[in-house]
């Protein structure tokens, strides 16, 4: 697979992108920022000017994260003539990063033109290492037109330089009304000794760090090391008191549905999916102290052979009809608000069990967050290579003890 752009352009991009992001992260306003962002922009412009359209594109994604019959991709091929190779090779961000980073670092292509990465450590590392290509803003017409304001201004990627959202989800508290009679409203409900042995927490340090910080009333996006230590202490106390049953990677939903766990940290999409699948009545709230919003983002890895086709495919999913088909299939939070009405009208014209499913998707508060929810949702703690080992040194022992 030969690179379709000049090495020089790639090196220029690599060198400048890190600088641009650091400048932005330092919040250096004014001339200096504008100058380096302008430099980065012009390097990106040069890169994109040198690209030519191609006839194929390879898309790496998580499993079950697209409409099952790939109709959205088939429509893309029909419209543009570009053939799509779709690979469900991402199991989680950390192992995918561990796989592509050695290849990219040694100058080899991953074979992918497009990938979906969650905001967090791996996202910021890819940007800092210059292993992703800045998007061609001029090709994001659908995005600029149709994406909701919250998704056009994400704090972890200002200006949407490297990514645009694929889907979002929220982490909150889920519980089973069969076992819990007073509906929880607060983070403290996860620390309630009455539920000892039946509380689930997540095992990802980024997830539990946020909840620990919410417990002590701190905004994760602006937290300090001392606050991390206080949060970890709260989490350790929760564990030491025997309140936590287990730290789950994703199988809390299995335990919750069986009643092994009564209340747990959970992703909104899982609760929706379980209620839909089995008619259960699991509940989900964003605690009043706060919850986490995470976004899976489309990015273009370095040495992609077909970046122009990738840009076309990226912007393709910002057409409301395509976004609607996607949301109807995966049931996660879409960045395109217009989708809700489309799903409602699809539901109206559907029949039988499809109708019930679509109506559920169209109206569920787990898929359409309220303004109050949005106000309380925060991103993960911003981790960079500078604070990475401190952060994990503080939070990993909570889970690993």
């Amino acid at each position: 697979m030969t690179a379709r752009y000049s090495r020089r352009a790639a090196l220029q991009l690599g060198g400048l992108s890190a600088a641009a992001l650091t400048a932005a992260a330092c919040g250096v306003q004014g001339a200096a920022k504008q100058q380096s962002t302008a430099q980065a922009e012009s390097a990106a412009d040069k890169f994109w000017k040198a690209q030519k359209p191609t006839g194929t594109v390879t898309f790496a994604n998580w499993a079950l994260y697209i409409d099952p019959d790939h109709q959205t991709l088939k429509d893309f091929t029909a419209k543009t003539g570009i053939k799509v190779t779709y690979d469900e090779v991402i199991q989680d961000d950390s192992s995918f990063f561990a796989k592509i980073h050695p290849q990219l670092a040694s100058g080899q292509s991953t074979g992918y033109d497009m990938m979906v990465i969650t905001d967090g450590l791996e996202f910021s590392e890819l940007v800092a290492l210059g292993e992703v290509i800045p998007l061609d803003q001029s090709m994001l017409t659908n995005f600029h037109q149709n994406a909701g304001p919250a998704y056009q201004h994400r704090s972890f990627d200002p200006g949407n330089v490297y990514s645009v959202p694929w889907a979002s989800g929220s982490t909150g508290i889920a519980w089973n009304p069969k076992y819990i009679k007073t509906p929880p409203t607060s983070i403290n409900d996860l620390w309630n000794p009455a539920y000892a042995g039946h509380v689930g927490m997540m095992s990802d340090p980024q997830e539990i760090a946020n909840f620990g910080l919410f417990k002590i009333g701190v905004d994760p996006e602006n937290s300090t090391q001392k606050e991390w230590q206080a949060a970890a202490a709260a989490l350790k106390q929760q564990r030491g008191a025997g309140i936590v049953r287990q730290y789950y990677d994703q199988s809390y939903i299995n335990a919750l549905s069986k009643g092994d766990v009564w209340i747990t940290m959970a992703w909104s999409g899982d609760i929706f999916q379980q209620n839909l699948s089995a008619g259960t009545d699991l509940q989900f709230i964003v605690p009043k102290e706060g919850g986490t919003i995470w976004t899976d983002n489309m990015m273009i890895p370095k040495y992609a052979a077909n970046p122009v086709a990738a840009m076309q495919l990226i912007d393709w999913y910002y057409q409301p009809r395509m976004a609607a088909t996607l949301t109807e299939a995966i049931n996660y939070i879409t960045p395109v608000p217009a989708v809700q009405d489309i799903i409602k009208s699809d539901a109206a014209s559907a029949k039988g069990s499809d109708k019930a499913t679509l109506e559920a998707v169209a109206t569920s508060p787990l898929v359409w967050l309220s303004a109050a929810d949005y106000a309380r949702l925060k991103n993960y703690v911003p981790i960079t290579s500078k604070n990475q080992s401190t952060f994990y040194g503080i939070f990993q022992p909570v889970v690993a003890g």
């Binding site: 390879t58 790496a60 998580w62 499993a63 079950l64 994260y65 099952p68 019959d69 790939h70 779709y86 690979d87 469900e88 090779v89 991402i90 199991q91 989680d92 192992s95 561990a98 796989k99 050695p102 290849q103 040694s106 080899q108 074979g111 992918y112 994703q250 199988s251 939903i253 299995n254 549905s257 069986k258 999409g269 899982d270 999916q273 379980q274 839909l276 699948s277 089995a278 008619g279 259960t280 995966i330 049931n331 069990s353 019930a356 499913t357």
Partner: protein
């Protein structure tokens, strides 16, 4: 081979009395002991297959969404055209089978040779060879995975089915070698010497005497290798590039739900296996011991 027995007791009893008493007492006790062992063996087989029963049950479940943890209702629909709803899943299954067969063949060939060497001969380097075998078994998966990936990347080897097969042969090899070695250690040298005395060359001796004698070890090693290969996740995920295998697809899917098609495929694999087992049992009646 000598058998260590309590010679005092033998001296104290007249042989005829012993024989009569021994034989008379032996038959009923053998049946009772044997029955117990037979029942125990089947108990273990069933215990090992218990989760499969649950999986088969859930392949008939009818969830309205993607999650398949709670029983909703009975349906046969996943056994029909719906089975192919996820084309990447079926491709992943095919890849897994291909890799497992190739890796089994490769690791059995290489591992048998190593097992023979380790079990039969005394040579300088035996200790080191044993050390490397044991080390390969003891290395954590993630270590094998990261080091192999770095190795392939440095050598600019493209990742895909070949690299997966190479990796699988690597970690299955030691399992086969250790199993074959265990068998080889029980071999009676005199048989091979006899063959040699009767004029058989080394290759004929190996083919006609040694190989049949160690065959159970080779077969056991092959079964272990196949089972390890078809279920491997960590190493495969690192060196697979864009190729999907069954375990990889499942691990990736668990975040968004394991649809019933997965249970159906698992059930089909199990049923095919049962058919193979039944066939071989019926054929085996013909009767080598």
């Amino acid at each position: 081979m000598t058998v260590d027995i309590d010679s005092e007791r033998a001296r104290d009893s007249a042989p005829a009395v012993v024989a009569a008493r021994g034989r008379g007492r032996r038959r009923p006790r053998r049946r009772w002991g044997d029955r117990l062992l037979f029942a125990w063996t089947w108990l273990i087989i069933i215990w090992l297959a218990l989760p499969i029963a649950v999986m088969i049950m859930f392949s008939f479940n009818n969830p309205h969404g993607r999650f398949n943890f709670t029983w909703v209702g009975f349906t046969l629909k996943w056994y029909g055209p719906h089975l192919l709803d996820y084309p990447s899943l079926t491709t992943a299954m095919e890849n897994s089978l291909l890799v497992a067969f190739a890796a089994t063949v490769g690791s059995v060939v290489l591992g048998t040779l190593v097992g023979l060497a380790l079990g039969k001969y005394r040579f300088r380097g035996l200790g080191t060879a044993n050390l490397v075998q044991f080390a390969a078994i003891s290395a954590p998966d993630i270590v094998l995975a990261s080091s192999l990936l770095a190795f392939f990347v440095t050598l600019r080897v493209p990742l895909g089915l070949p690299t997966i097969i190479v990796a699988h042969i690597m970690f299955c090899l030691s399992f086969v070698a250790v199993t074959v070695r265990a068998r080889v250690l029980t071999l009676d040298r005199s048989l091979e010497e006899a063959a040699r005395d009767l004029g058989a060359g080394p290759w004929a001796t190996f083919r006609l005497v040694t190989l049949p004698l160690i065959f159970p070890g080779v077969l056991a090693g092959a079964l272990l290798a196949f089972a390890i290969s078809i279920d491997d996740f960590v190493v495969t995920s690192f060196v697979s590039g864009s190729t999907q295998t069954f375990p990889l697809w499942i691990w990736s899917a668990t975040r968004n739900g394991l649809p019933p098609q997965v249970d159906v495929l698992g059930t089909l694999i199990f049923v095919v296996g049962l058919i193979i087992a039944a066939t071989s049992a019926l054929l085996g009646r013909r009767g080598t011991r």
